[in-house]
Structures are given as structure tokens and as C-alpha cells.
């Protein structure tokens, strides 16, 4: 049992620090974003389970020699209201922490989903009043606004893709087709659920930088997955051009960058810097990493930018999502894919196995 608690603690540490860092820096997720998404979910879930499991296993030491006996003894003692003789203070604390952490994470998850539901309902009402159904695209509504935006509103049977008039006049027909396919993929693959789960994890552990990094990485993977669906309808260049047009039109319209999280207006000054860097590839190295930092204002993306800032190639200025559209990026080989899946499943089973042995 002490060994179990230690092993779970070590697993929790590994999943809280080195493994997510490695994964967020790796380049293979751009090749198979779906597999990377599975691995991220496994890391997050196993991380939580092993954190709780380590505390629980340590606290159970006061109750029994193995987990099953400990749990049985715990339930008996919980009924009688007494604590077994010889249980140390730190074990009591650990046990309480395990229960509190579990409750905290679950309540936060529920609160995040409820809050999102309320916000979505209000937003759906607004959309219903301010937009018209598109005549030639089922499940699509058009809002009368000059800013080019496209997004999706999840909601079961009432889910919809919303396009703005500005977007429709900006893009050509097949670029629009790419946008709609992209948004429909978000809806069909229920990406908002994954995003909400990771967002709840981050808001439950605000002092934990890896949670933010994971949320960013998952957000990026979800976009890649939706891009992949769009690429089945149009060629890569069309999709890339649609992103480039919509993305670069956003700047002047919104006035600031669009990451939302860390916007302090620094993005505006960053615009000039990157612009200069792009036209003069010679001095790109240091300057571009710097621009990467001002671009997002949040930590996680800095490393992405740094990883790609080799001055000799303009493609390297792009973050992974765009890069894979302009540079040939083969999918992971079959055995590599199986490896990722096996690792995800193995990770997920590990805390339970450790606790029961």
C-alpha cells in the first residue's frame, strides 16, 4: 500500500508536468489530430485519477493493508463515525483531500456545463432574432453584419452554423463550402463537449499552468479535425485561403487580436512587428519568436512559435494548424497510431490497476 500511494503519486507528477509538456511540443499531433486528442483526454483523466488515487491510497493506509480491505474498513468506520486507532493525522488529511478534490472537480465540471448551457440558450435566442435561415444551405443562418465571422452553435437538433453577410461577400463559393464543412464537423463531432471538459479542468485548477496548456492544445487539435473534414470537400489551398482571408480581415474589424484570453492591446503593436519580419526573412530568427509571444499574449503558444522559427523557411512562421495545410504532412503510420491508442488505454487503466494490486 505505501508503494501504491508512491507509484500513484509518481504517475500524477509525470502526468502533471513532463508528459504534457512533451506532448504540447511534439509535432506529430498535426499529423493525426484525432489520436492526439485521445491521448490528451487520457492524460487529463488519468492525471486526475492518479492525483486523487495517491491521496486516497495514502489515507487508506490507516484502514487496511490493501485497497479492498481498506475500503471495506473505511465504509464500516464511516458508518460508526470513528477513526481506527493508529491512523495518523496526515492520513486523515490525505483522505479528506482526496474526497474534496473529487468533489471540487466534479462540481466544477457540472457548473461549467450548466453555465455554458445558459449562455448558449441566450445566444441562440439572439441568433434566432437577428439572423435569417440561409436559402441554399440547410442548417445555416445568416446574420446581417459586416465583420466576416463563421461559427457553430451546438445544441442537438437545434444546432446551427452561423455565417455573417461580411463573410459571404468576402469568400468565393468553394471557400464558403470549406467554412461550412468545417463548422459542420465541429457540430457532428461534438467538439464543444471536449472543449468544455478541458475548460472546466483549467478553471478548477487555476494555479496549474499545464491545464491552460492542455486547453490550448486541445483547442488547436479540434480545429485541425474540423479542417480535415473541410479538406474532404475542397483542396488544401482553398481552405487555407479561406482561413487567411477571414483571419486577416478580422484584425481591423475587431480592433484587437482575437484570442480573447490575454488581449491587452499588445496584439496591435505585434502586427507591425510580424509584418516587417515576414518581408525580411533574413532577420527572422529572434524577431519572429518575439512576435509569437506578443501575438498570443498567453504562454503556451510561445513554444509553438519557437519550435517553428527557423529563419530559412517562411512556412516555419506558421503555427501547426496552418502549416499542415501548406506543407505536406503525412498521417501517422498505422503502427504508430496503434501505439498512441495503446498508450492512451494503458494510461487510463494504470491508476485502477495500481490501486487494486
Amino acid at each position: 500500500m505505501p508503494a501504491t500511494a508512491l507509484a500513484l503519486g509518481a504517475l500524477a507528477l509525470a502526468l502533471a508536468w513532463p508528459l504534457p509538456i512533451l506532448l504540447s511540443r511534439a509535432r506529430w499531433p498535426a499529423r493525426s489530430p484525432g489520436l492526439a486528442l485521445v491521448l490528451w483526454q487520457s492524460i487529463a483523466l488519468t492525471g486526475g485519477l492518479s492525483m486523487i488515487g495517491a491521496l486516497f491510497a495514502y489515507g487508506l493506509l490507516g484502514f487496511g493493508t490493501n485497497a479492498l480491505a481498506g475500503i471495506r474498513s473505511l465504509s464500516v468506520h464511516a458508518g460508526s463515525g470513528a477513526v481506527p486507532a493508529g491512523m495518523t493525522f496526515s492520513q486523515v488529511l490525505a483522505l479528506a483531500a482526496a474526497f474534496l478534490l473529487t468533489g471540487h472537480l466534479l462540481l466544477n465540471l457540472a457548473a461549467t456545463f450548466l453555465r455554458a448551457r445558459v449562455q448558449l440558450r441566450r445566444h441562440r435566442h439572439l441568433v434566432a432574432l437577428l439572423s435569417e435561415p440561409s436559402a441554399d444551405r440547410p442548417g445555416t443562418r445568416v446574420i446581417d453584419h459586416e465583420a466576416p465571422v463563421a461559427y457553430c452553435l451546438p445544441g442537438g437538433t437545434t444546432s446551427a452554423t452561423v455565417l455573417s453577410r461580411g463573410l459571404i461577400s468576402l469568400l468565393e463559393a468553394d471557400q464558403l463550402r470549406a467554412v461550412v464543412a468545417h463548422e459542420r464537423a465541429h457540430l457532428l463531432q461534438r467538439h464543444h463537449l471536449v472543449l468544455l471538459a478541458f475548460r472546466s479542468w483549467r478553471s478548477a485548477l487555476p494555479w496549474f499552468p499545464i491545464a491552460t496548456r492542455a486547453e490550448t492544445a486541445v483547442g488547436l487539435l479540434v480545429e485541425m479535425l474540423a479542417d480535415d473534414e473541410a479538406r474532404r470537400q475542397v483542396d488544401d489551398r482553398t481552405l487555407a485561403m479561406a482561413i487567411a482571408l477571414v483571419g486577416s480581415a478580422h484584425g481591423p474589424v475587431t480592433g484587437a487580436g482575437d484570442t480573447g484570453a490575454g488581449d491587452t492591446g499588445a496584439g496591435d503593436t505585434g502586427a507591425g512587428d510580424t509584418g516587417a519580419g515576414d518581408t525580411r526573412p533574413g532577420d527572422a530568427g529572434a524577431g519572429d519568436t518575439g512576435a509569437g509571444a506578443t501575438r498570443t499574449g498567453t504562454g503556451p503558444r510561445d513554444t509553438d512559435a519557437a519550435a517553428f522559427a527557423r529563419p530559412d523557411h517562411p512556412f516555419d512562421l506558421l503555427t501547426p494548424r496552418l502549416r499542415r495545410l501548406v506543407v505536406d504532412t503525412p498521417r501517422l503510420r498505422r503502427h504508430q497510431g496503434f501505439g498512441v491508442l495503446a498508450a492512451s488505454a494503458g494510461l487510463l487503466a494504470l491508476p485502477t490497476l495500481l490501486l487494486l494490486t
Binding site: L126, H192, H250, G251, G260, G275, A291, F315, L317
Partner: protein
């Protein structure tokens, strides 16, 4: 009852365009546009308008002046204000709210999009 949504939108358009408080029967008269007639598929009754108004009131888009007989209905905010609220959420200027909405361009920054555009344009001109 699926066309209630359409009627809600048309009714709000009337209220927004008029910019003043109106009684239900006046609203019904102004709603007799071809689009609204097509949506209701039958002569529009004042009771239907009242149903639609009370739905809009519950959702917080319409307020009712009960001191007056008949009651007067008024849009809570202008169309422009509501549009601004919606775009605010979509463009993520309210960081707390954007998670539920996955936008097409995601986290792509204007600068990055601009470099991509430069990268793509010379070849597309060939």
C-alpha cells in the same frame, strides 16, 4: 408551432423599426406583411401576437407597460445593441463566454493569417 420563431423575429423587426411602445393590435396590423402572412399561413390573430409577445417578454427582449390600457409593448434594447452583444460573444471580446462557440478561424491571429495570405497569393496568381 415551428413558425413562432419566425413570427418572433418579424415582430421584433416591427418593434425595432418603430422604436416606440405599441399595443398588440397595432403590432398585428403592422405585421401584415407578405413575409409574416406566409409564416403564419392564416389570418394573423391578436391572440397569436400576444402569445409571441409573452414569449419574447420571457426571453427578455420585450417589456410591457401594464399601466396603460391596452398594454404597450416595447423592445428592451435596439437591434444594434443586441447585434453588438452577439458579436461581442462571437469575437470573444468577453473571454468568459467564448468556449462554447467554436469559430472558424479559431486561434489564428490576424498577423498569422496575413502571412499565410502572402504565402498563398503569389502562387495563386500564376
Amino acid at each position: 408551432m415551428g413558425n413562432l420563431g419566425v413570427l418572433e423575429r418579424l415582430l421584433m423587426d416591427v418593434l425595432w423599426d418603430s422604436g416606440q411602445a405599441l399595443p398588440a393590435n397595432e403590432l398585428r396590423d403592422r405585421l401584415l406583411t407578405p413575409a409574416a402572412v406566409a409564416a403564419s399561413r392564416k389570418p394573423l390573430a391578436t391572440t397569436t401576437v400576444l402569445t409571441v409577445l409573452s414569449r419574447l417578454e420571457t426571453k427578455g427582449f420585450v417589456t410591457r407597460d401594464r399601466d396603460n390600457r391596452p398594454h404597450l409593448y416595447r423592445a428592451v434594447r435596439t437591434r444594434a445593441e443586441h447585434t453588438a452583444e452577439l458579436m461581442h460573444e462571437v469575437l470573444g471580446s468577453a473571454p468568459d463566454r467564448q468556449a462554447a462557440l467554436a469559430r472558424f478561424i479559431g486561434n489564428v491571429t490576424p498577423q498569422e493569417a496575413e502571412s499565410l495570405r502572402l504565402l498563398l497569393s503569389p502562387a495563386s496568381g500564376e
